[in-house]
């Protein structure tokens, strides 16, 4: 009999993956403008560090919220004692209003249907515990956030089956891919309980089209399964097309009283939009009261600190502030993203056209020695150790095609980004100068890529909707 549980000895936590190994390398040799200018630049961390000044200035103007006080009176004791898993009502109200604002107020949320959790990490795991168990599976479109391996499977015993998406159509979800994934699960003797999508997508940085959302709703209706929409990046949409949430689609299709309504659940968090990952603020929104009740009880295992709930309830209730913050934040994200895209272009590297998120999905297929994941790993190691940029290889995101990398842009200054792009340009220059056959391969790939990038721009022009923000 083993002394420890199987969870300790297996590696379903997924932390042996390259996604995390790159971080370790960075930790050993982190870039610093002054102290370590030759160090590794962290581009594998999807953090929003561009708008702290806005938060700080709000705090300076709102000293009460900042120091356990309300209307000048100390409420420290009440906060210190408040551990009700229903959450602080004023915070939940402020949070749902904020979520509605992000969706252009096209949908409204009921505070009684929201469950607060310690980050989206906890929200996703909790939903798994509520919706599935050992022997069940959830379908996930690839590429997807590497942390899902831990969050969805590790302690729950639930399996994931990929919905393969490819660059041939911008990695969009297709009906056939959904069906194929479903069949694959069945062949593995797994009972499919639902689909989990991230919208906007990590790592793609794109918002889902209405077409995809309709497809998903049809699919889960037909198969009588759940849909989880992880909308953690919903507040980072900086360009058109505007964000369309699955709740909006359900509403537009008048499905509020239908059976499928209660099988759609949304996950949210303030870690990306407000750049507060340290505060551990996540939420589950479900239309099913049984799920809400069960998840609420489970939130005991990871409640949001009352101190944090109080601070953020004041901040998010300040509608003037949230409007201004969202507007400025989007502008800064857009500016930084364009700088990354331009810098990549100068190095002859393209990326998937994106309008959201804190990263770009970068195409380095033309730099691969061969069209294999081994070659991708080889390239990745060179980029981490030689170019000194920590970026995330597509294989760690379960991408079906080698050569794609996720590159983050919102966690550094403009200068650092510039330096990163310079390093990349030099690197690309150096590997192509001496290698003739490689050059030919690169040229043919570049032609293909140019055609494809152009096609993307053309498509997105037509997809463009009125800018509502």
């Amino acid at each position: 009999m083993g002394m420890l549980s199987r969870k300790v000895t297996c590696n379903s936590h997924g932390q042996d993956s390259s996604y995390f190994l790159g971080w370790q390398e960075y930790e050993n040799n982190p870039y610093d403008e002054v102290k370590n200018p030759q160090g590794i630049i962290q581009m594998g961390l999807a953090e929003n560090q561009l708008s702290f000044d806005l938060l700080e200035s709000w705090l300076a103007k709102n000293p009460d919220a900042a120091s356990f006080r309300r209307e000048g009176q100390s409420i420290f004791k009440e906060l210190a004692l408040f551990q009700d898993y229903h959450g602080l009502p004023v915070f939940k109200k402020a949070l749902v209003d904020f979520m509605a604002e992000i969706r252009g107020n096209k949908v409204t949320f009921d505070p009684n249907h929201i469950v607060l959790t310690a980050g989206a990490t906890s929200a996703n795991e909790t939903l798994m515990f509520c919706l599935a168990e050992q022997g069940d599976a959830f379908l996930l479109p690839t590429p997807y956030y590497p942390g899902f391996d831990r969050d969805l499977k590790w302690r729950t015993g639930v399996e994931t089956v990929p919905i393969q998406c490819t660059s041939s159509n911008r990695f969009q979800i297709t009906a056939s891919a959904l069906e194929e994934a479903y069949q694959q699960a069945q062949r593995k003797n797994l009972r499919v309980k639902g689909v989990l999508v991230t919208n906007p997508s990590n790592p793609l940085g794109t918002t889902m089209t209405r077409n995809e959302l309709d497809l998903l709703v049809n699919f889960i209706t037909d198969k009588e399964i759940h849909l989880i929409s992880d909308e953690i990046y919903s507040g980072t949409v900086f360009n058109s097309p505007a964000f369309v949430s699955v709740m909006e689609v359900l509403k537009d299709r008048k499905l509020e009283k239908s059976e499928v309504w209660e099988r759609v659940h949304t996950v949210y968090s303030l870690s990306k939009d407000l750049g507060l990952p340290g505060f551990r603020v996540g939420a589950i929104y479900s239309n099913d009261p049984i799920v809400v009740a069960a998840a609420t009880k489970m939130s005991s295992f990871g409640l949001v600190s009352s101190q944090t709930q109080y601070l953020l309830s004041a901040m998010l209730s300040d509608k003037k502030f949230t409007k201004e913050y969202m507007s400025k934040n989007h502008k800064r994200l857009q500016k930084q993203q364009s700088k990354l895209v331009a810098g990549l272009e100068k190095a002859d590297i393209g990326c998937l056209e994106s309008n959201a998120g804190l990263f770009c999905w970068v195409d380095m297929r033309h730099l691969l020695r061969s069209d294999t994941f081994e070659a991708e790993m080889e390239l990745w190691k060179r980029i981490v150790y030689d170019v000194k940029l920590n970026i995330s290889p597509g294989s760690s995101c379960h991408c079906s095609e080698p050569g794609w990398f996720r590159v983050c842009f919102a966690n550094m200054s403009e200068d650092t980004l510039k330096l990163a792009m310079q390093r990349l340009k030099s690197f690309v220059g150096s590997i192509t100068v001496n290698d003739q056959s490689h050059q030919e391969l690169k040229n043919s790939r570049r032609k293909f890529r140019t055609k494809w990038v152009f096609r993307l721009s053309f498509l997105s022009f037509h997809d463009r909707e009125q800018d509502e923000r």
Binding site: A80, F129, V291, G302
Partner: protein, 488 residues
């Protein structure tokens, strides 16, 4: 609606079973309190909450410290230069200063007889999260843990619900003050073996909830040798360790294993600041394991319940203020001792005894003389009388799986002095009325084997409301809490 039934079948067993344990009477009593909460001026005849193990006695000290240390907050003018770094900090290793502060505090609580290694401090979502995490690390679905009874009602959820584990109670009896005996452990273990239940370890709370007693050295050594013999784990939940207010002193398991030959890889501590400091809202749980693999695994799992970085920063400053902490601990003990004394002596004067205790935020009250008969049903009947007639929410022993009916846990640290007076007076009246009617023996300072009957014909003994499952959380004083009265 038809589809709701269909949809229900699409949920997990965990979501639809009742292994969260919230249908137990422990949580039931809250409903009576929630619908009629005591307030000295607004509702002087309401139910007084004595079922909530909170420590509200020392907030004045903490509030003073907060005013004197504005840079402990990242949101004030003095602390804002730390804001972005802290707001961004989600490393599951936790802030170094926070871990150092917690390790130091744990050491002081143990009388500085052992030091705790800050690098072994792993965070979790309260002790609730810590206990569940430790179970996930030590056992697989279908395995079991031995738990000496009476035990904290929340263990049913924390140890079993999502982990798929079982609890095998180790019965302890009043005849020897509920001590955990080797014989009782062996008996529980063998019983499990006979039922083909795979026991992975023992979990004890020291100091005990609901008893309020500390484990003595002999018992602790006996526990360690038991788990060593069986090659299983020992988890010590030391959440109440700083609530010890009189001798004998608290001995951490860390001290015991330092002086004993044992397999340190099977020893694990769970801690929290919810009881000692009175901060349940801040969700500070700690897993401290002597096993490196468990520590690593628990640390990865802490992603599911990290302590807010804002809170870590605040507590790092407070816990590293040696002078303040020293003063706090002394003052807290004093106030707890006084409160405990007032209650237990007040009850003794009307002939109600309680288990001799020196820790915790509650005492274990002996109401056996007032039971119609020595059964759980009679205990529940008496409990409903106490809630409905005496208007005190106390917790019946059966909700702690106590093997003997008639015991009640009564919390004393979650109210002000005035309310203490009211509560005592109500109990006094209740017992004296019973005596007047000749139904309680004058000499019942100690329980005798008489069949003492109580009848309160005018009282509704069965309250339907109290037996229905709760929807409201037991965790906080709603709607009393001003935070819950929204202004929108």
């Amino acid at each position: 609606m038809e589809f709701r039934r269909n949809n229900r079948q699409l949920l997990s067993k965990i979501a639809t079973n009742d292994r969260h344990g919230e249908d137990s009477p422990y949580f039931d009593g809250w409903k009576a309190y929630d619908s009629d909460p005591f307030h000295p001026t607004h509702n002087p005849h309401g139910v007084i909450q004595m079922g909530l193990a909170e420590n509200q006695l020392c907030f004045d000290l903490i509030e003073k410290w907060i005013l004197e240390n504005p840079d402990a907050s990242i949101c004030t003018a003095e602390g804002i230069d730390k804001f972005r770094d802290i707001a961004n900090f989600q490393d599951y290793h936790g802030l170094k200063e926070f871990r150092e502060g917690v390790a130091k505090f744990m050491g002081r609580v143990g009388g500085n007889r052992v030091t705790f290694d800050p690098d072994r401090i792993v965070m979790s979502g309260g002790a609730t999260g810590a206990n569940e995490t430790v179970m996930f690390c030590l056992a697989d679905p279908g395995d079991a843990f031995l738990v000496p009874s009476p035990y904290y009602a929340g263990f049913a959820r924390d140890l079993r619900w999502r982990t798929g584990l079982d609890i095998v109670p180790v019965d302890c009896e009043s005849s020897n003050n509920f001590r955990i005996t080797r014989a009782a452990l062996e008996e529980a273990y063998e019983k499990a073996q006979r039922s083909n239940i795979n026991v992975k370890g023992v979990i004890v709370a020291n100091p005990s909830n609901p008893l309020g007693t500390v484990l003595d050295k002999e018992t602790m050594r006996s526990l360690v040798s038991f788990i060593n013999d069986k090659n299983i784990h020992l988890v010590c939940d030391e959440i109440y360790s700083a609530t010890v207010f009189s001798s004998p002193r608290f001995i951490s398991i860390a001290e015991i294993i330092r002086d004993m030959d044992c397999n340190r890889d099977s020893i694990h501590i769970v801690y929290s600041l919810s009881k000692d400091m009175g901060f349940p809202g801040f969700r500070v749980g700690i897993v401290y394991s002597f096993n490196d693999d468990v520590m690593d695994c628990a640390r990865k799992m802490s992603s599911f319940g990290l302590v807010s970085s804002e809170t870590q920063f605040f507590l790092a400053a407070m816990l590293n203020d040696d002078e303040f902490i020293g003063n706090f601990m002394r003052e807290s003990s004093k106030r707890l001792a006084k409160r405990h004394h007032v209650f237990t002596k007040g009850l003794e004067r009307v002939g109600i005894s309680s288990l001799k205790s020196n820790a915790g935020l509650f005492f274990w009250m002996d109401m056996r003389p007032l039971l119609k008969e020595q059964t759980v049903e009679a205990e529940i009947e008496l409990w409903r009388v106490i809630i409905n007639k005496v208007k005190l929410n106390v917790s019946p022993g059966s909700s702690f799986q106590c093997s003997e009916p008639g015991w009640f846990r009564v919390c004393f640290a979650n109210m002000d002095d005035e309310t203490v007076g009211v509560a005592l007076e109500r109990i006094r009246q209740f017992v004296l009325q019973g005596k007047e009617k000749g139904e309680v023996s004058e000499k019942s300072k100690h329980w005798k084997k008489h069949n003492l009957r109580l009848s309160f014909s005018s009282v509704r003994l069965y309250d339907e409301n109290l037996s229905s499952p709760r929807m409201i959380s037991p965790h906080s004083p709603i709607p009393q809490s001003p935070l819950v009265r929204t202004r929108t």
